[in-house]
């Protein structure tokens, strides 16, 4: 009887795990566009489909952002197919969940290239993963277009040249950090600043360093620079040290949960000054700090869903999902549009080398939801693209865009 009880318990555990496995986003399983939040893709036709893939985090710490990117990418594919496809051929997109893990991403990328025969890939948003994928893409010669913002993902640190098969379709960490640094100096009149960042995260450090360099070049004094590791949740020791130096502003460029904890703890410790941040202060930051008024907080915001270029996308997302879109919806859409532009120009869209060459040289004022995007062939990053500076309203329900800064 006891053995049966144990067996029953084990079977129950297996059933629970199987129930979870049946949901979308499972690692290494192509999901296609089965996400109920995404628009349906046009039917695949026999032969002739052009295959692209995505490597996105749909179940890790950046799952909300990853799922939004998937939605945007699917929407772009549907839009392209509804308009006749790529020179008459349907575009097919295959999704892989990479769980925020570089090894998982490399495995999925290799599967996309070797088994699924993808000619181009929409890459994940995490910079650590972009850096890991860059040399692999060089080897496999299938281009990746993404929004991982660390410049080391697009520039080979040893040769200082651009990695040949990887592209960034939004301003880099350097560009974004310099934009908000410029805003800090010019509009917020910051004279002293402290920095609190995640030392174990490339994304965070590649905001902190250029921010510091920029403000110091403008005569602002950096009175403290403290760090935490990614598994830490209590930053009060660092914040107490920072607050004791009485900075006009604290710059905190990290992930949403870390930013929320830092913001709450800074306010709890009595700091009422400016807090300045990166582009992860949009939702769910406002729900994570519930109970703490949001004020004196300025951050980077990449996409204005009320602008003429982007409204259609934001409205479509809201209509389908009932919630306001994250900027990542636009990232997914834009990445696919850049790839599609190259596919349309290619003599042989199944030749990833040719497609890559066209992404590099012919991405000029390509119409996307973020406006026209031009990729600089020498850096593989956009040129002339800016970011918004934003803040939350007092209710913590709405984001106001204050200014637009180009690097």
């Amino acid at each position: 009887m006891k053995k049966r009880g144990l067996l029953a318990a084990l079977l129950a555990v297996i059933m629970i795990l199987t129930a979870g496995c049946s949901s979308e986003g499972k690692s290494s399983t192509p999901v296609g566009s089965q996400n109920s939040n995404a628009p349906s893709i046009g039917k695949t036709s026999e032969g002739g489909d052009i295959i692209i893939g995505t490597l996105l985090d749909t179940s890790a710490s950046m799952a909300a952002a990853g799922k939004a990117t998937v939605w945007g990418a699917d929407y772009a594919v549907k839009e392209i197919n509804d308009a006749g496809g790529i020179n008459g051929r349907k575009l097919k997109i295959i999704h892989y969940d990479v769980k925020g893990d570089p090894n998982e991403s490399i495995t999925a990328y290799n599967r996309l290239v070797d088994q699924d025969k993808a000619v181009a890939v929409v890459g994940p948003g995490l910079s650590n993963i972009g850096i890991a994928l860059a040399p692999v893409a060089e080897d496999k010669k299938v281009p990746i277009v993404s929004h991982f913002m660390d410049e080391r993902a697009t520039t080979n640190e040893k040769t200082k040249a651009a990695w040949k098969y990887i592209y960034l379709a939004e301003p880099s960490c350097n560009q974004q950090a310099e934009a908000i640094a410029a805003y800090s100096v010019e509009k917020l009149n910051v004279k002293t600043v402290a920095i609190l960042y995640d030392s174990s995260n490339a994304y965070s450090t590649t905001h902190a360093i250029p921010y510091q360099k920029y403000v110091e070049s403008k005569g602002v004094k950096v009175v403290a620079s403290e760090s935490f590791t990614s598994d830490a949740k209590d930053y009060k020791a660092q914040l107490t040290k920072i607050i004791s130096t009485k900075p006009d502003a604290i710059f905190v460029p990290a992930y949403a949960q870390q930013n929320a904890l830092a913001y709450k703890q800074a306010r709890e410790l009595g700091y009422t000054g400016l807090i300045i941040g990166n582009n992860t202060y949009s939702a769910p930051f406002n729900t994570l700090v519930q109970g703490t008024p949001i004020s004196n907080l300025f951050f980077i915001y990449n996409v204005d869903f009320q602008s003429a270029n982007t409204k259609f996308l934001g409205d479509a997302y809201k209509s389908a999902n009932g919630t306001d879109p994250l900027p990542n919806v636009a990232f997914g859409y834009d990445n696919v549009k850049i790839i599609a532009n190259a596919l349309k120009l290619a003599k042989n869209p199944n030749d990833s080398v040719e497609v890559n060459s066209l992404i590099e040289t012919k991405t000029t004022a390509v119409k996307t939801s973020s406006g026209p995007i031009t990729i600089d062939p020498t850096t593989h990053r956009p040129s002339g693209m800016g970011v918004f500076i934003a803040k939350w309203d007092e209710s913590g329900k709405k984001i106001s865009l204050l200014d637009y800064y180009k690097s």
Binding site: Q238, Q257, L288, G291
Partner: protein, 294 residues
Amino acid sequence: MNVTFLIQQLINGLSRGAVYALIAVGFALIFSVLKFSNFGHGGLISVSAFAGYFFAGVLKFNPVVSVILSAVVGALLGVLLDFIAFKNLRKHKSPSIYYFVSSITAGILFMNVLTIFFGTTFYSIPPFFSQPTINLGNIIIAKLDATIFIVCSVLLAAVMLVINKTSLGLALRAVSMDADTAKLMGMNSNAVVTFTFLIAGMLAGVSGIFLGANFTVDPFIGNMVAKGFIASVVGGLGSLPGSIAGALMLGVIEVILTTACGDIITPALIFVFMLIFLLIRPQGISGKFIQEKA
């Protein structure tokens, strides 16, 4: 660095230590009775944190009710954990190391089941206090941290009372000394052990909701059990009051090292400190030498 700064950092350290103490009490209880390090406790904390979010954030129960219900959930999960991971090992009189391995596996299982159903999205428990801090001049004390410290102390006192002053506690101590002899004396040692897991689960339930309220809820919040382990080791494995003292010491030392040396090197220095401390006092602050530890 002025006096206010130093006092504030001391309070920060004690606050951090209070969080660790909440974890360490449940961890130490299992060790004191069953003589192994139960890393499944982390899984219980994670599930209980989600339960706390459900009660406080979704059903909008008040904090006291939410804490009580999370404790109940944790208690039931503790019994489930015993059933899944340890009961069969007891039946076959397995070596202590098997319990240790099974506990780690169970902890990972709980957290990953949470990930399957909830992803790794973060959830926020509504604040317990409308005014979150007590201001004593320039010194700030977070009410939630103070509450955690008080709750931890009360729970410790309650558990010590049960263990030392009740017949059930007597049975617990008897089973911890020798389960077979306790059986011969007419005690149902299995039931006593299950009751121990029920208590430890209740402590995990309380830990989970308070940790979730302090740091937001995610499936891997239970990984903080590692801090509970360090606190228990420093405090003396098997000593409940020692685990609290160890936790507070750990919190203060972490803050001191972070302030002086930065957060990057602090984790390594903590382990160096632990090694040196155990070289000097291997039984911990108030523990006794225990054989067959796992």
